[in-house]
């Protein structure tokens, strides 16, 4: 990973490809790379769909090595959904392959010409950018089929669906998984719309003839990786629960804890929760011959994912994640797993973030466009997005916009991005993250749920305001650093609880790069990333008044615990005191 690939799309004339040395970006990966490039090179006041925005695609520091769990890719830009800086993170094969190809980042600049759609093919011999208008308004699945036919069964494919081409604010970027299906998405923040604005439909990555990146100290690397793998295997969450039930194991516990936002955040308990739980999903997949345990990329040893099949055993989608099951399920009053799996498949195909799309549909239900519980109505709305009708485009624009259009007061967003599957009033640590994250409402940016609900990394009472700001700050710093490594964020469970596993991770990085980093250096990296992101947002016009939740969370109490969000504004403003 010693070079950067720049591709400048031009209004007229052919795209210009150049390969550069890393220069000042040396040693960066993942979110550190995307955020530093955006902070340095993108004018904060630019229009996210304009020529001055850049789309940065970066494998993590450890991607493409033999380190377990290292296949996450970061995609960054200025977000069309939030107007903030954005790093959206995905699994799938792309990170490993891109890293083996030697690129620490692909930076796509400029703007498409508005009529041609490009594909970019990268292999060991170079880069080929060509027009392929036959891909116009195809879904991700059809796009991937065509690329497979052209480039073979071994390539990793990054693509956008119709939503990205239409430049909708909830548009995602898909990455293919081990089966070459476009199921792993950089979902949040409308990164797909930025790719669409550049006129790029797909990027095909071929690492034929290349091997894993070599560590500076191979022996130390192997030993540290062994310790790291042991730590992941012995922790109850990553060794047992996630492989057996997937992330959707959370449905029951959030429901039990009264933190499961139901019917557009009216109560914290969903009657139909058990019917759409991870336990039920795993039971059903075992019965039908699906696969409840499956990795999203080679080198994943947790394998939280799975393959969802219908009652005849035919593939529908990957196993929908907890947040997807919530957004299309309890949030909308839908308790039918098969319908939720169809919605997941459609989101992946059209190229939509499942959270922003599901939350938008729930807000539309609140606004009377359809009834809560109407699964077929939800499916029809996604068909509208696919066709690009005005109504479909409104849904694909996310909760804030559809809420305005329908005159809905209860719109659960921060900085325009939908609040995910943990109610701010009964899981207050993650709510502080929603309010203050540089990304808009994003649970992954500082997963307070771990400590509030799951008792990982200690315990802070989810229903009280005390301790949440410190919790969120520490998690946001740690997360920014993990997002730079290319590690799947679920390694946070063992590394929060087991110091030796955290040390093993630091040792892997040191052995890879020949460094002597300590835990403090890792924290310093997290702070550096957050500071750069925050500085960008400030220049883009964001103030502390934007670091707030919608007021209904402070005013309306949430059953069953009848709590409100009561962390004060002054305390929220202390999150970045570091």
């Amino acid at each position: 990973m010693d070079k950067i690939l720049r591709i400048k799309m031009q209004g007229s004339g052919d795209p210009v490809v150049s390969v550069e040395n890393l220069g000042e970006y040396a040693g960066l990966g993942g979110r550190a790379m995307t955020s530093m490039v955006v902070a340095k090179e993108v004018p904060p006041d630019c229009h996210p769909l304009g020529a001055k925005n850049k789309l940065v695609i970066a494998p993590g520091m450890l991607s493409g090595t033999a380190a377990a769990m290292s296949g996450r890719i970061s995609i960054g830009c200025k977000s069309p959904l939030t107007g903030t800086i954005k790093e959206s993170n995905a699994g799938g094969q792309a990170a490993q392959v891109l890293a083996r190809l030697g690129y620490a980042a692909i930076i796509i600049e400029g703007k498409g010409n508005g009529k041609d759609l490009y594909k970019i093919f990268i292999n060991k011999d170079g880069v080929k950018v060509s027009v392929d208008n036959g891909l116009k308004m195809l879904g991700n699945y059809a796009t991937v089929e065509k690329m497979k036919a052209e480039f073979g069964e071994k390539v990793a494919i990054i693509s956008i669906g119709q939503a990205g081409e239409m430049k909708l604010p909830a548009a995602s970027i898909a990455c293919t998984d081990m089966e070459q299906r476009p199921t792993r998405h950089a979902g949040r923040g409308g990164v797909g719309a930025v790719m669409g604005a550049k006129g790029v439909k797909t990027i095909i990555l071929d690492d034929a003839g290349l091997s894993n990146r070599k560590p500076v100290d191979e022996q130390k690397f192997r030993e540290a990786n062994r310790e790291f793998v042991n730590g992941i295997r012995k922790h109850g969450v990553t060794g047992q629960a996630l492989p057996a039930y997937g992330t959707n194991v959370l449905t029951n516990i959030l429901n039990e804890a009264g933190g499961y936002p139901t019917h557009n955040f009216r109560t914290g308990f969903f009657e139909g929760g058990a019917k759409i739980s991870g336990e039920e999903q795993a039971r059903l997949m075992t019965e039908r011959g699906g696969q409840p345990t499956h990795g999203c990329h080679r080198g994943c040893i947790i394998q939280c994912s799975g393959i969802y099949v219908d009652k005849n055993g035919n593939y529908i989608s990957k196993q929908p994640e907890y947040e997807t099951v919530w957004a299309h399920g309890g949030h909308c009053g839908i308790d039918d797993l098969d319908k939720i799996a169809v919605l997941d498949r459609m989101d992946d195909d059209i190229g939509l973030d499942t959270i922003d799309t599901g939350v938008a549909i729930g807000v539309a239900m609140d606004g009377g466009l359809l009834s809560f519980g109407d699964a077929d109505g939800a499916i029809n709305l996604l068909k509208e997005v696919e066709k690009g009708t005005p109504l479909g485009r409104l849904i694909g624009s996310g909760a804030e916009i559809i809420g305005k259009v329908l005159g809905v007061e209860r719109v659960p967003v921060v900085k325009g991005q939908a609040i995910p599957a943990y109610d701010p009033r009964s899981v207050k640590g993650v709510a502080v993250t929603y309010a203050t994250s540089t990304m808009g409402a994003d649970h992954t940016a500082g997963y307070g749920v771990a400590t509030n609900i799951l008792k990982v990394g200690g315990f802070v009472d989810p229903l009280k305001g005390e301790g949440q700001v410190d919790l969120s700050r520490n998690l946001q710093i740690a997360t920014a650093a993990i997002d730079a490594t290319g590690m799947c964020l679920f390694i946070a469970f063992p590394i929060l609880d087991q110091p030796e596993t955290f040390n093993a991770l630091v040792d892997i990085i040191n052995a890879m790069y020949g460094l002597n980093l300590t835990g403090d250096d890792v924290a310093a990296l997290g702070k550096k990333i957050l500071s750069a992101e925050r500085d960008f947002n400030k220049k883009a016009g964001f103030t502390k008044e934007h670091d707030r939740l919608p007021t209904f969370f402070k005013e309306e109490s949430l059953p069953p615990h009848n709590t409100v969000f009561d962390v004060t504004d002054e305390d929220l403003d202390k999150v970045y005191n570091f």
């Binding site: 922790h235 109850g236 969450v237 990553t238 047992q240 629960a241 996630l242 057996a244 039930y245 997937g246 992330t247 959707n248 194991v249 959370l250 029951n252 516990i253 039990e256 804890a257 009264g258 308990f269 058990a274 991870g278 336990e279 939280c304 994640e321 907890y322 947040e323 649970h443 992954t444 997963y447 749920v449 771990a450 609900i453 799951l454 008792k455 990982v456 315990f459 009472d461 989810p462 229903l463 964020l489 679920f490 469970f493 069953p560 615990h561």
Partner: protein, 74 residues
């Protein structure tokens, strides 16, 4: 007194998901864990009426006790 007991994820395997139990007064959570044949080492998370609780909590009439192994996601 009557208490509702709910077991989740691996704890429910070979046992039950939900059951009403008739218990003597001064029964603790740990007593119930033993009674239903769960190894207390396998219990990571205890909720009573939707709030975090502990093994030594004295159960009350109509309590809902929910037990989980270590779980996570996100």
């Amino acid at each position: 007194m009557r208490v509702k007991v709910k077991l989740f994820a691996t704890l429910a395997k070979g046992r039950f998901g939900e059951r009403g139990l008739e218990l003597n007064a001064s029964t603790t959570v740990l007593d119930v864990v033993n009674l239903v044949g769960v190894d207390s080492n396998d219990v990571a998370l205890i909720f009573v009426n939707g709030r975090h609780s502990s093994f030594d909590y004295l159960l009350q009439e109509d309590d809902r006790l929910s037990l989980f192994p270590p779980i996570g996601g996100g």
